[in-house]
């Protein structure tokens, strides 16, 4: 990371300089190093210093910019004080679709840097909170060339606007023993199957897909994705009682640390036998015992995923956490069932949503009933914490002869 040089007499950015102190790596140091080479980075610092003084931002509202053939992937940004900070007069961001799981070769990283040094501010985010590589700040005139060069090194743009947003996935089978399916491959295939929707905003609003290999949900799919795919298993978890004994022998308080936190008390500890007993049908696959004793307990063998729908942040009707839509789905190449379901869902949403209405809000407005009809899925008890408490039940006219 950038090397912090603390001696700068008569600094232009006394306030920001304060943020070069302290043990955590400093974004200011990053900017300062770039500022040595790039006027844009220097003016970014100077404008930010002004914001630190006035406690307001100095960017104008939005602005539509882009590259040929695409409608999304670039966030337009203009300084509101271009005379004062000419380097950031135009300071647009490119969202570059990361490889599944955020794996890189050193070569790919260097290529990205080369492209960005050529066309932009030299500043990046690894990564944006949706998951893209963020190339932070280029003038309008450089965007197309930058994209052309990106395309030469094999990096495409991600989403912005009313489109599919760049899907992301947890590290999954690449490094995690808990993965119930190939999160990385599924993410890649979904991304490829929806290239048109990713690059050309044609939907009422954004739509996010995130993929976690197990209920630990290491990409926060349930909180941040309209369509959350989370690994699970259909059968009983596997317990290796010998390994259990080994944990016990090491002094682990299995009753206290494991059984007492099992949400359904499906697990109990037989201290005499040094054995874990499981009431299989009571397990709700919360991962806790597996997390605590990965050497002894594993998911079952009938692996797949739960599909949850509707997650999003606050705007407009409050934040929603995704809720269960399909309790169990196989997630295996060629992913026909998954892609088909995703297509039906986005089609229904695109047909029915108002402008800027996330799918969760649309379902809230029209009811799960209407949504399930629309996408051809049955109602199952797993969808709800509890059935309805109000008696405002709709009947289809054909049900009431």
């Amino acid at each position: 990371m950038a090397i912090n040089k603390h001696e700068m007499p008569d600094s232009e950015t006394p306030r920001l300089d304060e943020l070069e102190k302290g043990p955590w790596p400093s974004f200011v140091t990053e900017m300062r190093e770039a500022a040595g080479k790039k006027p844009a980075a220097r003016d970014l610092m100077r404008q930010l210093e002004k914001s630190y003084g006035e406690k307001v931002g100095h960017w104008k509202h939005g602005g539509i910019v882009g590259v040929k053939g695409y409608g999304g992937g670039v966030i337009g940004r203009y300084s509101d004080s271009p005379e004062e900070f000419p380097g950031v007069r135009e300071f647009h961001t490119l969202r570059v679709n990361q490889p599944s799981g955020w794996f890189y070769t050193s070569k790919a990283l260097r290529q990205l840097c080369d492209v960005w040094d050529k066309h932009g501010s030299g500043l990046t985010n690894f990564h944006g909170s949706t998951g893209d590589v963020i190339l932070l700040g280029a003038p309008t005139g450089n965007l197309q060339a930058c994209f052309d060069d990106l395309s030469d090194i094999g990096f495409d743009l991600g989403g912005s606007g009313g489109d599919l947003r760049t899907p992301s996935a947890c590290v999954g089978p690449a490094r995690c023993e808990f993965a119930n399916f190939d999160t990385l491959d599924a993410c890649q295939k979904v991304t490829m199957a929806f290239q048109d929707e990713l690059h050309r905003p044609q939907w009422p609003y954004k739509f996010k897909v995130k993929i976690s290999g197990c209920p630990n949900d290491c990409v926060a799919a349930q909180a941040r994705a309209d369509f959350s795919l989370i690994g699970t298993w259909r059968d009983t978890l596997r317990i290796d009682q010998e390994a259990v004994k080994a944990y016990a022998a090491q002094g682990m308080d299995i009753r206290g640390e494991v059984c007492d936190h099992c949400p359904t008390r499906a697990l109990s500890w037989d201290d005499a036998q040094k054995q874990l007993n499981l009431v299989a049908e009571d397990c709700v696959r919360c991962m806790h015992c597996i997390n605590k004793m990965p050497r002894a307990i594993r998911p079952g063998v009938q692996k797949g995923a739960t599909v949850l729908i509707g997650g999003k942040a606050t705007i407009l009707r409050s934040a929603f956490l995704s809720w269960v839509l399909v309790p169990f789905i196989k997630v295996e190449p060629p992913y026909t069932e998954l892609l088909d379901l995703l297509r039906r869902i986005t089609d229904w949403w695109a047909d029915n949503a108002k402008s800027r209405e996330r799918i969760g809000e649309l379902i809230y407005r029209v009811g799960m009933r209407t949504f399930l009809d629309g996408v051809g899925l049955p109602a199952v008890p797993q969808m709800v914490k509890e059935p309805r408490a109000n008696p405002y039940i709709f009947w289809r006219s054909e049900e009431v002869k």
Partner: protein
């Protein structure tokens, strides 16, 4: 003419050989020390992961330095995590300590695993966005400096996930974090009627308001803000630049606690309001830093092992949370939006 719609690079090309060999065949893992994971495959092969912090905002030279480290210790491969940490993937155990030594030399912190605090997921703030109520990177830096030891030590009752977003759009997905730092406006937008008439559609602007605080003003072909219905979310500004919402004097930060995302033990939970407002006090936001530290300290002192912040609060009760943290409870803490009623205490069961 560039290619279009070719998508992200195939991740397979980005995987180190040790992973390719053991893909989907991992058997278990251990945390050897803070920031150092060991994954063992069915084959018996082991993979060592060193997790390291970054400021997320990186310049290209820094990224190249990371690439150099990857070449030197990891056969040319590296990854980032879903919380923007770096992960160095090492197949040869003997390279672990040399890498750690070199990271130390560069002042790159190693940690964020197990029962520690990971890095703070955050957003653009004054660096790149048009609607922030505060900066993001600056606040994050100040807080991380203060809580640094919890990143490098696994000294907490459970994982601690802190997130920061600079406005109510919540790009950092702060709504389900153990502790969330959220920029808030507190004054209604100031309407530039001329600009609105010129550039925005009145019905769209009116429809953008969650609390119906906007009324058409047909005379001016603009809108009026019914101030007592406005809760300053800024969504009208998102839809229309004429609804200026930033206010250097009154914008600031709110603190939220007790959210979680994963399904481990307990279901995911939203973060709930702890502190409605703290002032913007750049460059180091001391009030915010102190507030976060206080909450972390109280949690660390009172939670039982394995309890996330929200799990702890649910056990002891929110009454006790406010008492222990010394934070005042106000009418702002009581929900008054769509789903308010289910959040009310419909029971005589409470603590004094």
């Amino acid at each position: 003419m560039p290619k279009l719609d070719f998508g992200p690079p195939d991740f397979h090309a980005m995987l180190p050989p040790v992973i390719k060999r053991n893909y989907g065949q991992w058997r278990y893992h251990e945390i050897l020390k803070p920031g150092l994971l060991k994954h063992v495959a069915e084959s018996g092969e082991a993979l060592f992961t060193v997790r390291a912090g970054t400021p997320r905002l990186l310049n290209t030279d820094s990224v190249r330095r990371i690439a150099d480290l990857a070449d030197k210790y990891c056969d040319g491969y590296v990854r980032f995590t879903s919380r923007h940490n770096l992960e160095f993937l090492i197949s040869d155990e003997s390279r672990v300590e040399p890498l750690l030594a070199e990271l130390k030399k560069f002042n790159i912190p190693v940690g964020g695993t197990g029962n520690s605090m990971s890095s703070i997921v955050h957003t653009q703030g004054w660096i790149h966005c048009h609607t922030p109520a505060t900066d993001a990177s600056g606040v994050v830096k100040a807080v991380m400096d203060e809580l640094f030891q919890h990143y490098t030590h696994m000294d907490l009752p459970a994982k601690l996930k802190v997130a920061m977003a600079c406005c109510l759009n919540m790009c950092g997905a702060v709504h389900c974090s153990d502790i969330a730092i959220l920029g808030v406006h507190r004054t209604p937008p100031k309407v530039d009627h001329e600009a609105l008439a010129r550039g925005c559609e009145v019905p769209t602007v009116v429809a953008s308001c969650p609390t119906a605080a906007l009324r058409p003003n047909p005379r001016l072909k603009s809108v009026d803000v019914v101030e007592e219905r406005c809760m300053y979310c800024g969504n009208c500004f998102t839809m229309c630049p004429a609804m200026k919402i930033m206010d250097g004097e009154h914008d600031g930060i709110s603190i939220w606690v007790g959210g979680k995302v994963g399904n481990a033990r307990t279901a995911p939970m939203f973060s709930k309001l702890a502190i409605p407002f703290l002032p913007n006090n750049p460059p180091r936001w001391p009030e915010v830093v102190d507030a976060v530290k206080n909450i972390v300290d109280v949690w660390a002192a009172h939670a039982i092992k394995g309890e996330r912040v929200g799990e702890w609060i649910n056990r002891v009760g929110w009454e006790r949370f406010f008492e222990l943290t010394g934070l005042p409870f106000t009418d702002k803490h009581v929900d008054d939006f769509i789903f308010s009623v289910p959040s009310f205490r419909s029971s005589t069961q409470f603590k004094w």
